[in-house]
């Protein structure tokens, strides 16, 4: 490279003459290429969302470098998503909780005092003991989310509480699990049992894979797209998946069940359903045929706005590819208060197509038969979350957050103490802002364990700062999936600041509460090591490989004509549900039209974006750079009516007069003129999360009207409407 040599000589002169303010002779010491130092790898399980991909934390010369997926892991196939790749941002976030905090009163004002661990744990244990003596241990409610919650549920069970609630239940996927359980006797589960990589036709109803960056879901969906599968997407918004679809059905919001019934009508009346499968495995087909007889595509057109011919054509495409047709069960399904029934319709449609237990439909997952570490039985709690439901929601399998929160205030409150683990209730549970404030005033103890100063910490008496996932051990991951596997999280770093792992915090509280027989170990790795030895592995092996696969015991699909007993009361797929009927509900999914928007209001649709996991990651300094704020998506026609400029700030006001933070307008054709779209998780109001505080608008604040599913308690959140008000801030 002669020319380069020549120019090198002229560098100093040219540079100095032309640009005196710039570098005179280049960078004195060019940085070494990444990875040229001493690189070490530590196995981890990602905690950036609930998907829990296995990976390796890479350090270079002892400094944090990157996190990369474990190629052996079926959750990720070695490729972490945006959030997982940015996982070290959680570790590096300067706004992390750093020390235990105790609420104290100084000069008549309440404030947090930085406490030692002994001080904070003694205080917590003392009050928990007092509350157990005065009100009984069942007066403790546990709100949790995330993988590490297991340590604290264990503590609470040993203490004698039976009240547990997760936003993941009523606010997210529980209606799906109940709907499928009532139909097939089994749930979908996290790591959805969808066999999309082998699907020839995929139907997505309001589920936006793509914006939802659930790793294996995205991988298998895009694999199907690449192989030319027919994608049918039902969504009022032109989602990422819609842009990959052969058919995008821009449905009128709230009318999905009408479409599902019409699809069934076409399959039944045209004889396109899997007759052998239906005869062999299902119960109630005659009732179903009768139920859908009147639900013609012409009827559905008036509800959904989707042309009858499109409904027929898409139903025929589904049937043509069956059983390799998947009508996706979705994930966040708490929409309209009839969610279990709508999901039942999805479940029934899959049964008509014969896709459950079939290649390209829904496979049969397995997990490792992993013994529990031997511990004494928990005390039997006198009351549980079921009592908090007071006879409502007969098919609930866990506590409904809203109910437990609502019973935490007033003199007769069922709950006198809260233990909150990584569940930021004010941002993740809708229509409870006032109840949370009231509960916070009345509770005798509110303990929050978190890594970040989320809004909920502001209501705490004690804040116990946990270290992030790359600084701790946690339980073994043993998710049901295509190939059973165990994954281990190993600390790559010492706990930073004055933080501690969850297992340590739970054990220290346990010892102070006299519950030592449930914590007979000193280090959590003793539990992990014992469990691993039962399945022929060891800590030494797992600390090296991070993930170990095990052979399947049974086939992942039903064999042709296999005699298979479904774990329902009848042993069949229950198209018509006797269980629902006995509890006074419709045995068949029945359609009710949605509420109509008030004049000048637009239906509030919310959802995900791939760079963030709800409100948990918006302050992550790496992910913040990819998506610092949310925007409100507005159709150009609506924007014209309101004279909204792209990028300008507005505020949203809902039907109950609640006004949002200011939020930028994104004028886009990707949303219709009757709705607006907001990404969930923004609009934080917590000054100690400095990047994200006050940035963007919170959908949760605008969701003041919820419709609760009477079958199992899901909080339907899609019946809220907003209009625009000026940004006077």
């Amino acid at each position: 490279m002669k020319r380069r040599e020549f120019l090198k000589i002229s560098t100093a002169l040219g540079g100095a003459a032309v640009l005196p303010s710039a570098l005179l002779s280049g960078c004195a010491e060019p940085p070494a290429p990444p990875g040229s130092g001493k690189v070490t790898m530590t196995p981890t399980i990602c905690e950036m969302c609930f998907w829990k991909c296995a990976g390796f934390v890479h350090k270079e010369d002892g400094e944090p470098w990157k996190v990369v997926g474990n190629p052996e892991d079926l959750h990720s196939h070695g490729r972490l998503c945006t959030r997982g790749t940015g996982g070290l941002g959680a570790f590096l976030d300067p706004d992390r909780l750093k020390r235990p905090l105790l609420r104290v009163e100084r000069n008549g004002e309440q404030t947090f005092h930085e406490a030692s661990w002994d001080e904070a744990l003694d205080y917590t244990a003392e009050h928990l003991k007092r509350i157990a003596g005065k009100h009984g241990p069942e007066s403790l409610a546990v709100f949790s989310q995330c993988f590490g919650a297991q340590h604290f549920r264990h503590l609470a069970r040993a203490y004698g509480s039976g009240s547990f609630a997760e936003p993941d239940y009523a606010q997210c996927r529980a209606a799906r699990e109940v709907g499928f359980f009532l139909t097939y006797g089994e749930t979908i589960g996290s790591q959805e049992r969808t066999d999309m990589a082998n699907s020839r036709c995929i139907v997505l109803i309001g589920t936006h894979i793509g914006e939802n960056l659930h790793n294996e879901q995205v991988r298998t969906f895009t694999e199907a797209v690449g192989k030319g599968a027919t994608i049918i997407t039902v969504d009022p918004r032109f989602s990422v998946a819609a842009s990959k679809s052969k058919y995008w059905l821009a449905i009128r919001p709230g009318t999905d069940l009408a479409l599902l019934l019409a699809w069934m009508h076409v399959l039944v009346t045209e004889g396109l359903y899997d007759k052998d499968y239906v005869a062999r495995y299902t119960l109630g087909f005659a009732d179903l045929a009768k139920h859908v007889a009147g639900h013609t595509p012409e009827w559905a057109y008036l509800e959904t706005g989707i042309e009858p011919e499109t409904i027929r054509r898409t139903a025929r495409e589904m049937a043509a590819q069956a059983p390799a047709t998947l009508v996706h069960p979705g994930r966040h399904v708490a929409w309209y208060g009839d969610d279990t029934q709508r999901v039942r319709a999805v479940a029934i449609l899959n049964a008509l197509l014969g896709s459950w237990g079939r290649k390209g439909g829904l496979y049969i997952p397995e997990q490792v038969e992993l013994p529990e570490y031997p511990l004494p039985a928990y005390p039997e709690p006198k009351t549980t979350w079921q009592d908090a439901h007071g006879g409502k929601y007969p098919f609930a399998y866990s506590g409904v957050t809203n109910e437990l929160i609502g019973q935490s205030s007033g003199p007769d409150a069922r709950y006198k103490a809260w233990l909150v683990y990584e569940a930021n209730l004010p941002v993740s549970v809708p229509a409870v802002a006032e109840q949370i404030r009231q509960a916070a005033a009345d509770l005798e103890l509110c303990v929050v364990v978190d890594t970040m100063p989320m809004e909920v910490t502001g209501y705490a008496d004690v804040v116990l700062p946990e270290c992030t996932y790359v600084e701790r051990h946690d339980p073994l991951r043993n998710d049901p999936q295509r190939r059973p596997s165990l994954a281990l999280r190993v600390p790559a770093f010492e706990p930073q600041y004055d933080t501690r792992p969850g297992w340590w915090i739970a054990r220290e509280l346990g010892l102070r509460l006299g519950l030592e027989k449930w914590f007979p170990w000193k280090e959590y790795r003793e539990v992990l090591g014992w469990q691993l030895e039962q399945v022929g592995s060891s800590m030494a092996e797992m600390e090296r490989i991070g993930l170990k696969s095990f052979p399947r015991r049974n086939a992942e699909y039903l064999a042709p004509g296999e005699a298979y007993a479904f774990p329902t009361p009848s042993g069949k797929i229950e198209l018509s549900s006797r269980q629902l009927e006995e509890e006074g509900f419709d045995p068949m999914p029945r359609y009710t039209p949605p509420e109509v928007a008030p004049a000048s209001f637009y239906r509030l649709i919310y959802g995900r974006m791939p760079a963030h996991s709800f409100g948990r990651t918006t302050n992550n300094p790496q992910l913040f750079q990819v998506m610092p704020e949310n925007c409100v998506w507005v159709n150009p026609l609506t924007a014209g009516d309101w004279k909204l400029a792209n990028g300008a700030y507005v505020r949203l006001k809902n039907q109950d007069g609640v006004v949002s933070n200011r939020v930028r307008v994104r004028v886009t054709e990707r949303i219709g003129p009757d709705a607006v779209f907001l990404v969930h998780g923004f609009g934080h109001r917590t000054p100690r999360m400095r990047l994200t505080d006050g940035v963007g608008a919170s959908d949760n604040e605008l969701i003041t009207h919820i419709r609760i599913d009477p079958i199992m308690g899901a909080t339907g959140m899609r019946s809220n409407f907003v209009t625009f008000v000026g940004d006077e801030a």
Binding site: M1, R4, E5, L7, K8, S10, T11, G14, G15, V18, L19, A22, L23, L24, G26, C27, P30, P31, P33, P34, S36, W65, K66, R79, L80, C81, T82, T85, G86, L88, G210, E211, L213, N215, V218, R219, T222, V225, G226, F238, V240, A242, S243, K244, W248, A250, P610, A611, P621, Q622, L623, Q625, V626, M627, T668, E669, R670, I671, G672, P673
Partner: protein, 179 residues
């Protein structure tokens, strides 16, 4: 010249930005700067729409105007290839390359020198793919040698309709997008 190329399948790209974070962490790119980015292009009127997502970066042009414009030789080709590199020790931060780049692919480091996508040559040297390619959860990105007719990138370009950005510049960009 051995031509290395990147091929991005826009049918599969979901615009998740994982490539951006993977690049930033792999290459320790300072806060607020990035060497790659994602474009979203929507056309049509509701409800008759198309949206395309594209992961974009330096096009590692075979006729790179940035290399030609650099007065110090800091911007140069890596060996006998089209992979454009910046030698920080030679860069004076004069920004001639920024003016010459049709793709706005260059950035100014806080230290004052110019930075850009390197196609992760430190990984390519080890037989690995660039960090963005190896991380992409949809597998929409591919990397390889275009002069090898059997390489994955050559086979993809031979079998699928593709385009480059701003081919009219004559720069011969080497990042291709499959339609």
């Amino acid at each position: 010249m051995t031509r290395y190329a990147m091929v991005v399948d826009t049918r599969l790209c979901i615009g998740c930005g994982d490539c951006v974070i993977a690049c930033k962490t792999e290459n320790k790119v300072p806060d607020g700067l990035n060497r790659d980015w994602v474009m979203e292009a929507t056309h049509g009127r509701y409800p008759h729409l198309g949206t395309e997502f594209r992961s974009e970066r330096c096009n590692h042009c075979a006729h790179a105007t940035c290399v030609q414009s650099c007065p110090t030789g800091a911007s140069h080709y890596w060996g006998e290839t089209n992979i454009v590199q910046v030698a920080p020790e030679l860069c004076t931060g004069c920004k001639a390359c920024i003016a010459a780049c049709p793709y706005n692919a260059r950035l100014i480091r806080p230290e004052g020198y110019i930075d850009k996508c390197t196609f992760c040559v430190h990984r390519v040297e080890q037989g690995l793919e660039p960090a963005c390619v190896s991380t992409c959860p949809t597998r929409c990105m591919h990397f390889g040698v275009l002069d090898d007719a059997n390489s994955e990138v050559s086979r993809l370009l031979a079998s699928r309709d593709s385009y480059c950005l701003l081919p009219e510049t004559g720069n011969e960009p080497q990042v291709y997008y499959l339609r």
